[in-house]
Amino acid sequence: MSSISLPQTTRYLTFKLADELYAVDVANIREILDVTAITKVPMTPAFMQGVINLRGSVVPVIDLRLKFGISPTECTMNTCIIVMEVTVHGETVILGALADSVQEVLELEPEQIEPAPRIGTKIESGFIRGVGRHNNDFLMILAVNELFSFDDLAGAAVQAAV
């Protein structure tokens, strides 16, 4: 894990999922939306929330809390959809992720980031690029490309169908 090289100073968008802070490289962020009507796609696992109409294109939305094994997201005033651009199998994919609340954009120096711990986090370490430290807070920097590779979807979909 430690072999993953992190770029120089990078800006991150931080957001909260069940009181824990997460961060995503701003290069992956497209926009942040208020929660709109999400259309469920039948026969898909629960963490695949469905799709939204984003100015004429259909964008899938993922419930990160469910993906990480936390309870389902409950929509509040602060809930929003973070629209990201990730690269999956060499293809650029636009998708949205539900977040309990979006915090801020901050800069982190490479020395503020430590490699992901193998144990002790709620989510699989493969999905974490590193742990950032900011004002005594720890933030998990998500490896979005790995997180949304959807390799687990094929099996999940079939199970849901039967």
């Binding site: 259309t39 796609v41 898909t44 993922i62 039967v162």
Partner: protein, 694 residues
């Protein structure tokens, strides 16, 4: 950019060449076809050289020479020649992608052959050419003409990667050539931009070729240069009496001097022409006639060129895709407008909405037709396939096509190619019997494959029929039981048995050949057709042949569908699979324990989608059942409400949902909400699996 344009054009030319060759095989004396083949080859050679495909140019040169001789009548077409030329087309195609991909030996095999033909001709001399019976063509082919070509390339010609010298060299190949370079446009040294071209040329060319052959040389830069091609002398049978233009006339014609200049000088003595006429060398009318004739030729050419330019336009397909997408979004917005107008109850707004609706529909129609291409482009490839395969298999097979002008979306045609190749291979390999067997059982020696296409409603129906051995239902049954595809005691109708050949790993051939029989193929065909939202059927009569029918939607971008609702969720079902809608009363559904619905005497199974999709809420008292028909099997889907017909713009769900079984895409409704497009055939398979493994 220009290289790309050349490659695209070359691929098209190769296809055209191939077609012409295959037709030539049947009518070897068709001058029009010969002309077409020759021109295609010539353009490939010429522009190939211009864009640096030297290997292709050299390679094509010999073939071109042979065809020139055929055109002149000094060589005759035979099967071997066609074979070799077709083989050359394949090589050129490979070389267009990568010139080094074709080994020297492969090429030299063919070039040696064409070389030999050329030499043979040289040895035989002119004698053979007299044997040709077509005097009309002879006169055009043998007449030498002198052209004056003034070629003024645009200063920035080098930016497009074109070397004017390459073109001049090419002109040299056409005939005797004298070239004069004009240097007067070259500015003083300090103003010279080294990457600009300041030189222009005058070329006097004596050739037997037509003007278009010369124009072809410049085909890629016609827009970026000043090009004037004039036929100044035509040497016909009266060549001896031909007027020789005087220096003065030539200079005036070239615009170097004015008539007055010359007249002024000539006034001083007797006119040259008068002297000539007086001495009986020529008559004035000859001069006038020559000029009129020349004018006429030029006008005809100009007219032809303008109509050609206006009739078609080459546009990159991405631009068309963008246009189709935009129209798709416009359709969505228009649906919103119509809905808003209906809610507002404002007649003025309703009027506008109606107008917009009409215009959008028209725009949609015409945009989609831009993407339409005649399916014949695809058929012509098969002609070659059938020819090659039948030779390889030692069978005699004739291919007949029908409805080649039927238009289909370009993407559909492209993706149809592979499945059709599979089907045709199968027909040739397993279907059609060798000639001896056919004779013994009283069929004509020639096997026939008939491919036809026709419109039927909003879809296109393709049929591939062969008059071969057909499928044996009993053999299929045994095979299927062997492979455990069906239980040994299964009772299947003949049509269901035939459909088994689309199952993965199923092959009826007892032996595997290089062409087909490995059992991969028909299942791939089915998958490909499914992905095009098409359907495939097969019928067969043992001993009499097999017919495969493929039904395809006209386009992939927009489909006609039925909009239904369950609770608050909207779903659309492709109208092509929907058969009818019936009501389902609560009392019926509780009574029918097996979830079967009697429809006109037959029981149709139905699936409550609310339950299947895990949607909340309870069903209304009267539900609707949409009866779908997929490949002859009927199944009902229970929904709360049928809204009506809907023009559905298909949006992909993307990578995230690529494995979802129930839906094939999504669409955006008039109110901005998203509705799922149900994948009925897949839903049906999922249902069957549930039934088999409870």
């Amino acid at each position: 950019m220009h290289r790309q344009a050349f490659r695209e054009e070359a691929f098209e030319l190769l296809t055209e060449l191939e077609n012409a060759l295959l037709e030539l095989e049947e009518n070897p004396h068709d001058q029009d076809l010969l002309g077409r083949s020759f021109r295609a080859m010539h353009t490939i050679k010429g522009s190939g050289a211009m864009f640096g495909y030297t290997a292709i140019a050299e390679f094509t040169h010999d073939i071109e020479t042979v065809f020139d001789q055929i055109r002149n009548g000094s060589t005759n077409i035979n099967r071997e020649l066609i074979d070799k030329t077709l083989r050359s087309c394949d090589l050129i195609r490979v070389m267009l992608d990568d010139e080094t991909a074709v080994s020297e030996s492969e090429r030299s095999d063919l070039t040696d052959y064409f070389h030999k033909l050329n030499q043979n001709k040289a040895a035989k001399g002119v004698n053979t050419s007299i044997s040709r019976p077509s005097p009309a063509d002879q006169s055009t082919a043998e007449t030498e003409k002198i052209y004056r070509i003034s070629f003024k390339p645009a200063p920035d010609i080098f930016f497009s990667g074109i070397d004017p010298l390459g073109m001049l060299n090419e002109l040299r190949l056409l005939g005797t050539c004298s070239i004069v370079a004009h240097l007067d446009r070259i500015p003083p040294l300090e103003d010279i931009q080294p990457d600009h071209c300041y030189t222009y040329w005058d070329v006097i060319l004596t050739t037997t070729r037509e003007e278009h052959a010369i124009r072809d040389v410049f085909i890629f830069i016609e827009d970026s240069c000043e090009l004037k091609i004039e036929c100044i002398v035509k040497m016909d049978s009266f060549a001896d009496e031909q007027v020789e233009k005087r220096l003065g006339e030539i200079l005036v014609e070239r615009g170097e001097l004015t008539e007055e200049n010359i007249a002024g000088i000539l006034k001083q003595k007797k006119r040259l022409g008068e002297m000539l006429v007086e001495t009986g060398l020529t008559v004035p009318s000859k001069v006038a006639a020559a000029l009129v004739e020349q004018q006429q030729v030029r006008e005809v050419h100009q007219k032809r060129q303008t109509t050609e330019a206006a009739s078609s336009l080459r546009v990159p397909s991405e631009k068309l895709d963008t246009l189709v997408n935009l129209v798709g979004e416009l359709v969505t917005v228009q649906a919103r407008l119509t809905q808003t107008a209906a809610v507002r109850n404002d007649p003025q707004l309703a009027n506008i909405a109606e107008e917009v609706e009409r215009l959008t529909a028209e725009l949609r129609e015409s945009t989609l037709t831009i993407r339409m291409m005649p399916i014949g482009t695809c058929f012509s490839k098969f002609r070659r396939l059938v020819r090659d395969l039948s030779a390889e298999l030692g069978k005699e097979v004739e291919m007949i096509t029908d409805g080649a002008e039927t238009e289909l979306d370009k993407t559909v045609i492209e993706r149809l190619n592979d499945p059709l190749v599979h089907i045709i291979r199968n027909s040739l390999d397993h279907g059609i019997e060798p000639a001896e067997i056919r004779e013994r059982i009283g069929k004509p020696r020639h096997g026939t494959i008939r491919i036809s296409a026709k419109h039927s409603g909003d879809s296109v129906v393709l049929t591939i029929h062969d008059d071969g051995a057909g499928l044996d239902a009993a053999v299929l049954r045994t095979k299927a039981i062997d492979r455990k595809l069906i239980p040994a005691n299964a009772e299947l109708a003949e049509s269901e048995l035939f459909h088994l050949i689309f199952a993965a790993g199923f092959s009826t051939a007892t032996k595997v050949t290089g062409i087909s029989g490995r059992g991969v193929g028909m299942d791939v065909v089915k998958k490909a057709i499914d992905s095009l939202r098409g359907q495939i059927f097969i019928t067969s009569k043992n001993g009499q042949g097999t017919t495969i029918t493929i039904r395809l939607p006209l386009t992939l971008a927009i489909i006609e569908s039925l909009l239904v609702k369950i609770q608050d969720s909207s779903f659309v079902m492709p109208l092509s699979v929907v058969e009818e809608c019936v009501e389902l009363n609560r009392s019926d559904s509780t009574r029918a324990a097996g979830r079967l619905l009697p429809i006109r005497g037959t029981l149709v199974p139905y699936v409550p989608l609310r339950e299947r999709f895990g949607l909340s809420g309870s069903a209304p008292l009267t539900e609707q059942v949409v009866i779908a028909n997929v490949e002859g099997k009927r199944i009902g889907f229970v929904v709360d409400q049928v809204i009506g017909q809907h023009q559905t713009v298909i949006k992909s769900l993307g990578t995230a949902y690529r494995n979802v079984a129930a839906v094939s895409g999504a669409t955006i409704l008039g109110d901005g909400s998203v509705a799922m497009i149900l994948d009925i055939p897949k839903l049906m398979i999922a249902e069957e699996n549930i039934c088999i493994s409870p």
